[in-house]
Amino acid sequence: MSAISKKFRKLISKGMQIPIDVTLGLPRVTMIGHLHVYIENHQGILSFTPERVHLRLTDGELIVVGQNMIIKAILPEELILEGTIDEIKHV
């Protein structure tokens, strides 16, 4: 995303009061206790083990660390992780 486009989208987001994740395609991460993690706007899996899930985002990567994790469901833009979640890192 070019810098101008980014600025324009931020402006629209501010002016029209639309959440920033919609206009900029940023990830939205929702946690339900330490049982579930919903990740919207992901860009694919980089690696996946029961202890560590590594995802690609529009800008950067997301690392989820936990135990006995499975991918409950995966759709083109949505992903649900289930297990015991210990840590979420945005890098």
Binding site: G44, I45, L46, S47, F48, T49, P50, I70, I71, K72, A73, I74, L75, P76, E78, I80
Partner: protein, 393 residues
């Protein structure tokens, strides 16, 4: 989230390098994964939709991965299974069809409120119309038509209602009660047909000559048919009821000992197979030697199947043991019997409205193994008898 998972899902294992990028490739082609688990360093296990299997396999082959499909679930499985159990499905369908068809038959014809004679007529009419057990209902006319026609065509009924209740046809008959024709009565008196003491009188037409507690002799005038002022009487038909106490006397005998043949209750069955002229006993060959005295009954066995019964070529002969029995009565018992026999006899002779009000045993005699009673009865009955008035008297 999940689209159409109920349509069918399949468990699959994927083995090979770079499984993650394979999943990414699949997701970008709109293949949905569920319950993705890592089973080893190089393999995962996931659930995918059956409708995606073709796309999924194509991508896997391109990347040189080994995929395996395990158990399936959902509608797809039911569909596949039902293909295998075709006979079962046919059975279900056939059952439903049979149930539907059978519920369209007539299973019962009920006639209500008719005397046996009219009921017979209605039943015959219905049978001739095809309205009988086992007939399909769709061949029959609507109830309203049946009702109209049966009311017109069956005599002896004023109105016959026809109603269909499920598989049953209900006829409700209202019978005709023709008003009794008023009999043309000729002028007459009422006289006594027995000696007695008058208890109660009810005079409809005429002039009462006697009153309650009067003693009347046989032939005495009770109600006169001549009414009006003396000298210019008109003769009418006297009508009425005179209840009077009358007396009867009779002798009855009852035995002290009764001998007869009766069943002991023991039976034995013999079964015979018979087809045309050929027959042989296949069960209970020695039945006739079993008892000294017996009574036999033979009937043909049949297999009941709904409203028809199919006769079987098997005859059953039942041997009933009989024995000569003697019953001894005490004198009191014999007297009791005699009294009830006497009462029955008398009741048979009397009219319906007569009532025995008292019975007295006058004499008891026992000889030759018999009890002989002489009984006196007091009865209240109608003693009216008609006596025509000779015109011109």
């Amino acid at each position: 989230m999940s689209k159409k998972t109920w349509l069918g899902t399949v468990v699959t294992t994927i083995e090979g390098e770079e499984v993650e990028s394979f999943i990414n490739a699949c997701t970008s082609q709109n293949i949905q994964f569920m319950n993705v688990e890592r089973t080893s360093m190089t393999s995962i296990r996931a659930v995918i939709l059956i409708e995606d299997v073709r796309k999924f396999r194509k991508i896997a082959r391109k990347r040189g991965l080994v995929i395996r499909f395990l158990e399936r679930d959902g509608m797809y499985v039911i569909k596949e299974r039902s293909k295998k159990r075709f006979g079962f499905i046919i059975g279900i369908v056939a059952f439903c069809v049979a149930l539907g068809l059978l519920s369209q038959l007539v299973w019962k014809v009920d006639i209500e409120g008719a005397s046996p004679l009219v009921e017979q007529d209605v039943r015959e009419w219905a049978e001739q119309e095809g309205l009988k057990v086992g007939q399909p209902q769709w061949r029959l006319a609507p109830e309203a038509d049946i009702q109209q026609r049966v009311t017109e065509e069956v005599e002896g009924a004023t109105w016959i209602g026809v109603e269909k209740i499920g598989t049953k046809y209900q006829f409700r008959v209202v019978e005709q009660h023709l008003a009794e024709e008023q009999e043309q009565l000729t002028p007459r008196h009422l006289i006594a047909n027995k000696n007695g003491v008058i208890q109660q009188m009810y005079v409809e037409n005429g002039r009462a000559v006697v009153k309650s507690n009067d003693v009347v002799q046989k032939g005495e005038l009770l109600v006169s048919g001549l009414i009006g002022r003396e000298g210019e009487e008109t003769a009418i038909a006297a009508k009425g009821e005179v209840m009077a106490e009358t007396w009867y006397q009779g002798t009855v005998e009852a035995p002290l000992q009764l001998t007869g043949i009766a069943s002991t209750g023991e039976t034995k069955n013999q079964y015979t197979f018979s087809w045309n002229e050929y027959s042989f006993v296949f069960w209970g060959k020695d039945a006739q030697d079993e008892y000294e005295q017996f009574h036999t009954e033979t009937d043909q066995l049949a297999l009941p199947l709904g409203f028809v019964s199919v006769p079987l070529p098997i005859e059953r002969t039942t041997y009933e043991q009989r024995d000569t029995m003697t019953i001894e009565y005490s004198e009191d018992e014999a007297i009791g019997h005699a009294v009830s026999i006497g009462k029955n006899h008398l009741e048979q002779q009397l009219d319906n409205d007569a009532k025995i009000i008292a019975e007295n045993i006058l004499q008891t005699q026992t000889d030759n193994g018999k009890v002989k009673l002489s009984i006196h009865y007091q009865v209240v009955e109608n003693i009216v008898q008609v006596a025509p008035i000779q015109q011109g008297d």
